[in-house]
Symmetry: C2
Subunit: 257 residues, 2 copies
């Protein structure tokens, strides 16, 4: 039997998704609480990793279980939320078909990056405060190039073991909402450090350090050294992971940010 | 010369508004940073106190200055925000007439109390998580009584030195917004601990522990022991302080929650 858990977390209190020695990861916190509640070791396969400090408004992971779980799964989720630290919430635990895989069946991921134009005491470690002027029109013009190219090596950490730097970006736009400036980006996959490098380089466009044309040249260069500096993880949220319609009914209960 | 500062804070990191020995207060943090920047001691008079853990989305305080301040006040605010801890933001510093007083000229205060129906990792110490059923209709019926009575001794801390327990409540209603249940309450003044005792007692109505009629009897009893327990400070926000139109143009830049 295969089960999916749907959950969210505030990355500020964790050393990223992936389990590691001498550090508190989201994966470890979830596995520990579920193992206690289900009385056998739970090993989670996430839809993807997030780095230290990065948040998830909607994340998925699956696990295998030798037999159908007899417990009321809503009550297991309720008890897990009481056991888990304040920075993680389990939305739902539900059975899925065994050919559905949290990572490989996922068809797209969407991230948001939030810049706050004023200091915001109510989003500790959840926005990147930046009050200097930004040309949002130019940032949106540059972002449009992301929809027309597919190799994003210039925005990838260099020491990764991926076979290809190809990503199909299907949404890339900046939205001004109240005191925040939000970058929306969706793709079939993302490279390590990609969203933070994209945002840092797009902000260079917004600050007038480089032009929209320079931004296109950076994509074409396929060289991380040409791109701008990565912005801090604080403003980055994984907000959606999509699966094919036949995989399962996605929960619609993601908490508002 | 008299100056007003308009600001907000996350109460989680402070021991309330009021300066006190061996504890970090909002008043002290603000006075320290302004004293350094203006090179003379600044003594603030707030519109009112908030207790430990209580937040303010829009708060005011005034201070006296022997001469007109020559510095660019927007730049002083900018520098203050860099000096102050992450939990405080100064929106604006501006001159006011000397007969305008942050506390005595204020005509009303509005608070919001936020209950989250699910665990929310993105509002640490900023909501009261409560997932059990609540009869919001009954809570709103009970809240209507607050508009028809004026003595709220039943909801006041007992050891305060006020002369009267009379408050003119002009707004008292519950709103369901996404996963949150928000109590809106506005009055000319509030007694110590009043909003948290009101919310706790209204939740007793919502949980069916007492009836709407019982709630009216509690108001009439003028006895704190008859009311329910105070809810935690985490969900409480001072969201507005109003002044007469002739006093000054209120800043309209309060940050979204």
């Amino acid at each position: 039997m295969r089960y999916m858990i749907s959950f969210a977390y505030n990355g500020a209190a964790f050393n990223g998704w992936q389990k590691q020695p001498n550090a508190v990861s989201i994966q470890e916190a979830l596995e520990k609480s579920l193992s206690v509640l289900l009385k056998n070791p739970v090993a989670l396969v996430g839809s993807g990793r997030t780095d230290t400090g990065v948040h998830a408004q909607q994340q998925y992971a699956h696990f295998e279980w030798p037999t159908p779980i007899a417990d009321d799964l809503d009550f297991v989720a309720f008890k897990a939320n009481r056991m888990l630290p304040p920075g993680i919430v389990v939305y739902r635990i539900f059975p899925i078909r065994s050919d559905v895989h949290a990572r490989f069946t996922a068809t797209s991921r969407k991230y948001e990056y939030r810049i706050s134009r004023i200091k915001n005491p109510f989003r500790p470690s959840m926005v990147y405060p930046f009050s200097f002027p930004l040309d949002v029109l130019a940032m949106n013009q540059a972002a449009e190039y992301l929809l027309t190219y597919s190799d994003f090596q210039s925005f990838s950490l260099v020491n990764t073991q991926v076979k290809t730097f190809r990503c199909a970006i299907t949404e890339a736009r900046w939205e001004e909402r109240g005191h925040e400036l939000i970058f929306h980006v969706r793709a079939d996959r993302f490279l390590r450090g990609m969203v933070r490098a994209l945002v840092g380089t797009l902000m260079d466009v917004g600050r007038g350090r480089i032009t929209v044309t320079d931004f296109e040249q950076i994509i074409l260069a396929k060289d991380r050294k040409k791109a701008g500096r990565a912005v801090p993880p604080d403003g980055l949220f994984l907000v959606e992971v999509t699966y094919p319609a036949h995989a399962f009914d996605p929960p619609t209960d993601a908490i508002d940010l």
